[in-house]
């Protein structure tokens, strides 16, 4: 069998094996890759940085554990930035397994904010983040489109209580916050089509500033909304998360993972080139032999 025919018939498991070896090697190595910040990520960071103390940001945790790898780092970087700047945060989880993701993120970020840390040359003293004062977790409700519309009228309509069962009217942070009019920014961190509902039923209906944190698979299809001004920015996949971590000077799992992406992509490109060379060479040989 000729080399090109072998290339065409290469068992896919060899590709997986090589990819695993390269990824493990890259992760165990200590090199780093430069991360260039794109304008669509910068705009989200600038918006949050520009908010004064006491502003309100709604963070929609609309993803399940299967999207945790890409979206959790975004949540961690964004929420820590908000809490360091004493910006109040409302959390919603309109995805089925979202509450678990949100509870984990709140626990970890609360722990991180309790320690003194320096970001971009500014020293932030550690402080206790209090449920009901610094943040309010509204929890999960089914039928996300109806919930998004309902919150536009009043948060306590779709959410009579918060996630922990406290009536929303008794949550100190929510006094004076009736609907989106009192929210300065909505960030939807999503791994599914809930994003469409935030664009159509949320931003389109109520006109608030909307930023998106999306999985890599979804990212390309939401760029048109950036051009039309319906959203203020996009964080796309692990790269978007790494860019946000760089901007907030809070390196986490995304920045750590980017050095694996580079060699992994090179391997995939190599196999694509090999596959194409094999295909065209085989075609050319068959044509020469008069078989095609």
């Amino acid at each position: 069998m000729e080399l090109f025919e072998r290339l065409m018939k290469l068992d896919r498991r060899w590709v997986f094996l090589l990819l695993i070896i390269v990824c493990v090697w890259a992760y165990a190595s200590s090199f780093s890759v430069p991360i260039l910040v794109m304008p669509e990520v910068q705009s989200i960071y600038d918006k949050v940085e520009g908010l004064p103390e006491g502003s309100v940001v709604l963070v929609a945790i609309d993803y399940d554990p299967n999207n945790l790898a890409e979206l959790h780092p975004m949540t961690y970087a964004l929420v820590e930035q908000c809490w360091r700047k004493k910006i109040k945060t409302i959390f919603t989880a309109l995805s089925m397994n979202g509450p678990g993701m949100c509870v984990q993120a709140i626990r970890d970020i609360t722990d991180s904010v309790s320690r003194d840390k320096e970001y971009n040359g500014v020293m932030y003293k550690g402080r206790e983040v209090v449920n009901g004062v610094d943040y309010c977790f509204l929890g999960y409700k089914p039928y996300y489109a109806i919930v998004i519309l309902g919150m536009g009228q009043a948060f306590n309509q779709p959410y009579p209580t918060d996630y922990y069962g406290t009536p929303l009217d008794e949550v100190p942070m929510m006094r004076g916050i009736i609907n989106y009019d009192q929210v300065d920014l909505v960030v939807d961190i999503s791994g599914g089509n809930i994003t469409d509902a935030w664009i159509s039923y949320g931003q389109g209906r109520f006109g608030f500033d909307l930023a998106l944190g999306l999985t890599g698979v979804m990212t390309a299809q939401y760029y048109p909304y950036l051009g039309s001004g319906q959203i203020i920015g996009i964080m796309g996949g692990l790269l978007g998360a790494a860019q946000y971590e760089k901007l907030t000077d809070n390196p986490g799992r995304a920045k750590d993972g980017m050095r694996v992406q580079l060699p992994a992509h090179l391997v995939i490109i190599l196999f694509i080139v090999m596959g194409n060379v094999g295909f065209f060479a085989n075609k050319w040989r068959m044509k020469r032999e008069g078989r095609a």
Binding site: R13, F16, L19, I20, C23, Y27, A28, M38, P39, D64, N66, L68, A69, E70, M96, N97, P99, G100, G139, Y140, K141, P142, A145, I146, L149, Y159, P160, T161, Y163, D196, I199, S200, Y201, Q203, G204, T215, G216, V217, M218, T219, A220, Q221, P224, L226, G227, S228, G229, Q230, G236, G237, L238, L239, R253, D256, G257, V260, Q261, A264, H265, I268
Partner: protein, 269 residues
């Protein structure tokens, strides 16, 4: 780290390895992980729906009523209407009464359509068309801050979006033969589509690798915890669990290799 936390971490690594073993071939370990995920997700969803949906939105609203008549004398009796409609959905399981489930479905679809049609039209069609029909920014044709072709608001991007959109639509116009100028525009359209698909493919590859990186990070963390000298309390236990899992994994790989070689020798004979 506590012993139970380490056990959960070890279980996480075990399930990761079970799942990834599918890359080689389907096997009982993969099936175990697959069924576990589906079962846990379904169970979790039921509990969340009960505590976050039915309890605060139905039972708590009706709890000022008398249990004897099934909440009927509650001051919020109107909540019984959606509750009854919800129960009617279960009529689908009956051959004779399945028609009753159409009522809540009709109500739900009617409300959804009424809400969706104007908002979807406005936000996904009209606003996108409007964004394409802007006046070309000739003053900042190559970007607002110097030469920057990635600037989505530059005149160049506006022209590219307009030409690209029209060309892509032309490609899907089959009432005229794709020859001459029309054919060239359609060819440009397919190039635009291919670039779009390429961008999606690149992002998808990044997403899939990201998932693997996350499992890699957890596995490395697990290894780090197993041999962390500060865990003196369980200094012998953690490495033992680590090596037990590694040996189990090696054992399974050896079993698969031996099975493969046996099968090959039978085939050769």
């Amino acid at each position: 780290m506590e012993f139970t936390s380490f056990l959960w971490l070890t279980f996480g690594v075990f399930v990761t390895l079970c799942t990834m073993s599918f890359l080689y071939k389907d096997n009982p370990f993969y099936k175990f992980a697959e069924h576990l995920v589906v079962g846990v997700s379904a169970g979790y969803f039921v509990i969340i729906l009960w505590h976050q949906g039915l309890v605060p939105k139905l039972f708590q609203r009706l709890e000022d009523g008398d249990w004897y008549f099934g909440y009927l004398n509650s001051s919020h009796w109107e909540y019984m209407i959606p509750a009854i409609l919800g129960c009617l959905m279960w009529a689908r399981f009956s051959k004779n009464y399945s028609w009753l489930s159409r009522w809540p479905m009709a109500l739900y679809i009617g409300i959804s359509a009424g809400l969706a049609i104007p908002l979807e039209m406005s936000n996904k069609v009209n606003k996108q068309l409007h964004a394409m029909m802007v006046e070309i920014d000739w003053a900042n044709f190559f970007g607002h801050d110097g030469f920057n072709l990635l600037d989505v608001t530059s005149g160049f991007s506006q022209v590219l979006i307009m030409v690209g959109t029209i060309s892509a639509i032309v490609y899907f116009f089959f009432s005229k033969e794709h020859t001459g100028v029309f054919g060239r525009v359609a060819t440009f359209g397919i190039w635009i589509l291919m670039i779009g698909f390429g961008a999606s493919f690149g992002f998808t590859v990044m997403a899939r690798i990201s998932l693997f990186i996350n499992r890699l990070q957890d596995t490395f963390d697990w290894g780090g915890v197993a041999f962390d000298s500060t865990n003196q309390h369980y200094s012998g236990m953690f490495p033992a669990i680590f090596w037990a899992l590694i040996l189990f994994m090696i054992g399974y790989v050896v079993y698969e290799i031996v099975t493969y070689l046996k099968q090959r020798s039978v085939t050769t004979q």
